[in-house]
């Protein structure tokens, strides 16, 4: 099978219930991450880099920021005659209540696509993967379905679905919410399947009122040839505020950055024409990631700073994630905060969270 024979379908609201404040006004897919990225940039760039040229992003609610981010798709090179990315919102008054119903409603879109395979994915996986190996093994194995998994710890607040496979990778059993100690073969919620089969299975599930997607996958293992493919390289699932905080901070590790942001498989994101970051005469920066368009005059330690942030003179900011265009006043003292977009914190403010409980400051807050 060829990569360009695969239709990518991404769920934009993965884990939105457990990402709480971050997804209050936006989809999981458009949660800012890693300084200059949005969560979906990873899976979308992976697809684009693997020649999956036609991608649909399922949007349930609050998808303004997602639409703004994706735009025409040109940032991912997905706006050509023979490629494209579409946002698929609910329509004709139908709610996207659960995955099966959603996919059932979208069967028209899926069947009209010229591609013969469907690659489903969540939007909250942080990884850099070349899918072509998965595609290759899918056809070598003559699999009906290939599940993407990773041997890893279960991320906080994630309901684990695990796979047990034999030594050639054929899945023997899928477990839903098993008791897990240490690492397990965690299904990443991503799978590859032939399009016609997929449409049949979804229609059948609807007719049988089987509306739990995990249970459906569990059932498929008995009836079809299901294989498992382990995601090579680093993989994180952003399932909670703590996981979000931890992952961002883990980017201080040069080796991880090297693995995630590869030269020949770049992670793309919407382009903003920011100037390089400017450091003033009074700046002091330690162990931090800083994006373009910032102006740093204060002291920064262990922080992830997004585009266009201004940290004024005398401010001390440590262990914070600061999203774009936020302004931090003079002589502020901040630590363990997740400061959302366009926040203004006036001079002389002190605010503190804890390592195990970073405090979120809502988008566009003005703290006087």
């Amino acid at each position: 099978m060829k990569s360009n024979d695969v239709l990518g379908v991404i769920f934009s609201n993965s884990c939105e219930d457990t990402l709480t404040e971050l997804t209050a006004h936006r989809t999981t897919a458009s949660v800012p991450i890693g300084g200059k990225y949005r969560m979906i940039d990873f899976v979308l760039s992976n697809m684009a880099n693997s020649n999956v040229n036609n991608v649909g992003i399922i949007a349930k609610s609050g998808f303004m920021s997602l639409m703004d981010h994706i735009g025409s798709g040109s940032a991912w090179d997905l706006s050509k005659k023979r490629s494209g990315v579409k946002i698929l919102p609910p329509y004709a008054g139908v709610n996207f209540a659960n995955k099966i119903e959603t996919l059932y409603q979208l069967r028209g879109y899926i069947s009209e696509a010229t591609e013969n395979y469907v690659l489903l994915s969540e939007s909250n996986i942080v990884f850099n993967i070349d899918y072509t190996e998965l595609f290759y093994l899918h056809s070598v194995n003559e699999a009906d379905i290939t599940l993407l998994y990773k041997n890893m710890k279960v991320p906080e607040k994630l309901m684990p679905v695990t796979v047990k496979h034999d030594n050639v990778g054929k899945v023997e059993k899928v477990f839903i919410q098993p008791e897990v100690k240490g690492n397990c073969n965690l299904w990443l919620g991503s799978l590859l399947i032939g399009k016609e089969l997929f449409l049949d299975l979804i229609t059948k599930a609807m007719s049988e009122n089987e509306l739990n997607f995990n249970r459906l996958v569990q059932k498929w293992v008995d009836e079809y040839s299901v294989f498992a493919y382990e995601c090579p390289g680093h993989c994180d699932i952003i399932s909670s505020m703590n996981e979000y905080f931890r992952f961002n901070m883990s980017l201080m590790d040069a080796d991880l950055r090297k693995e995630l942001f590869q030269y020949d498989r770049p992670i793309y994101t919407k382009v903003r024409d920011d100037a390089p970051c400017k450091y003033g005469l009074t700046s002091s920066v330690k162990n931090s990631l800083v994006s373009q368009g910032c102006f740093i005059e204060g002291e920064v330690e262990n922080c992830i700073i997004s585009k266009g942030v201004h940290i004024k003179k005398g401010a001390k900011v440590s262990n914070c994630i600061i999203m774009q265009d936020t302004e931090i006043g003079k002589d502020c003292n901040l630590s363990y905060l997740i400061i959302d977009k366009d926040v203004v914190i006036s001079d002389n403010k002190s605010m503190m969270g804890a390592d195990s409980f970073p405090i979120h400051i809502e988008k566009k807050s003005v703290i006087n």
């Binding site: 950055r257 024409d273 450091y279 003033g280 800083v290």
Partner: protein, 400 residues
């Protein structure tokens, strides 16, 4: 047929820029990196789109590969319209033979048919090697108001520098009565910025006349403009106030970069468009001293930095010190290296404990001092000392 464009901009980008030495060995001057993530050409191109000019021809001749690739389809500057946009125009072969662009005027002459397609009222001639931000509409209004055939943007320069420029001597109403090219005794401090607006009908005529004159060197400054003035055309100097710098020399290129770090200099980088690096944010390690610098995405900074500019993807090793320098994309400065008052070109590699350039204060004879330049993709070995003012175009190792 394509829709009419009121103004077509033509950017002169064909010169070698030999005074930039090793920096323009493999690329044209307008493609030289500037300001941490830009190339010089970004400034005129951004000025054009910000002024609503959507048809831009870039005249290329010397080493056009990097420039052509960078411009691409013009999308980063919004110059990828359906009927307009940016085109790189190289000399070409036609019936009767092929000619290189023999001068600035000849480059436009050879592209008369490119301009005619748009049926413009005005043509804006720009240089591809100036750093400035300008709304060309104001100049165009001035041109229209004066019913001029040609308007030349002029900037007030310090008296002692005036003899380096083309000086425009004007009447009270701004009309030009004399061109004084690099005068020994300048009558005024009104320097031409090399930005011209012509009414296309007039210019077209003069270009054809100029091409038919075998004695002409086909240059705007030397031939076309004086001819127009002699013929009694209405020519005006448009006074421009703001930052403007010709970055044709190593010193001026270095200074213009340093100006970005000076809060008292009125050059901001808002709305200057460029191709953007696809790299993660830059990383600043623990224990780093960092002052008054510009850093682009993708850098890994483990050493100290002051008054310096790092382009995308630069690596600075532990204990390295960079002072008053410009480090272009992808360059690596190894541990313990010291880079002062230098320009390190793309993907150059400075070895451990190497010393590149020097502080002017540390040099006994000021005439021996200058900005040090390391060419692109070169390797400066461990412990090598590169003196101030040196221009390096080959790899260097410590002699054993």
């Amino acid at each position: 047929m394509i829709p009419k464009q009121k103004v077509v901009a033509m950017v002169l980008a064909g010169g070698q820029g030999s005074r930039l030495g090793v920096l323009t060995k493999k690329l044209a001057k307008p493609a030289v990196p500037f300001g941490g993530k830009y190339r010089i050409i970004d400034f005129p191109l951004s000025n054009c789109v910000n002024s609503g000019i959507e048809a831009v021809g870039i005249l290329t001749q010397y080493q056009p590969l990097v420039l052509n690739e960078y411009i691409g389809n013009g999308q980063p500057w919004d110059l990828d319209g359906m009927h307009s946009g940016v085109n790189c125009l190289s000399p070409y072969e036609a019936v009767g033979g092929a000619d290189w662009y023999s001068g600035t005027a000849n480059a436009i002459y050879q592209n008369i048919s490119y301009i005619d397609r748009y049926n413009p009222d005005y043509v804006l001639i720009l240089s591809g090697d100036h750093i400035y931000k300008m709304d060309y509409n104001d100049m165009l209004e001035y041109h229209k108001k004066n019913k001029a055939a040609c308007t030349i943007a002029a900037i007030d320069v310090p008296k002692e520098e005036a003899s380096r420029f083309g000086i425009l001597n004007t009447n009270k109403d701004g009309s030009i009565y004399e061109f004084d090219e690099k005068p020994a005794h300048p009558k005024s401090t009104n320097a031409s910025m090399g930005i011209y607006i012509f009414s296309w009908k007039e210019l077209r005529k003069y270009l054809i006349d100029d091409a038919n004159d075998p004695d002409s060197s086909n240059d705007f400054g030397k031939n076309v403009l004086p001819t127009m003035l002699d013929a009694g055309e209405r020519m005006f100097a448009y006074p421009f106030e703001g930052y403007w710098k010709d970055v044709g020399t190593i010193d001026s290129l270095w200074e213009a970069n340093m100006d970005l770090l000076d809060p008292n200099v009125g050059l901001d980088l808002n709305q200057v468009y460029s191709r953007n690096p696809m790299m993660p944010p830059h990383y600043i390690a623990d224990g780093v001293k960092l002052q008054n610098s510009l850093i682009a995405d993708g850098c890994n900074v483990q050493g100290d930095l002051e008054f310096s500019i790092l382009f995308a993807g630069v690596t600075v090793g532990k204990g390295a010190v960079i002072n008053s320098s410009i480090i272009m994309p992808g360059a690596v400065i190894e541990e313990g290296a010291k880079v002062e008052f230098a320009i390190v070109a793309e993907n150059a590699h400075i070895g451990k404990n190497a010393v590149v350039g020097a502080d002017p204060e540390s040099v006994k004879n000021r005439d021996d001092w200058g900005v040090t330049v390391i060419g692109d993709n070169l390797t400066i070995g461990d412990n090598v000392v590169v003196p101030p003012k040196a221009m390096i175009d080959k790899n260097m190792e410590v002699e054993k």
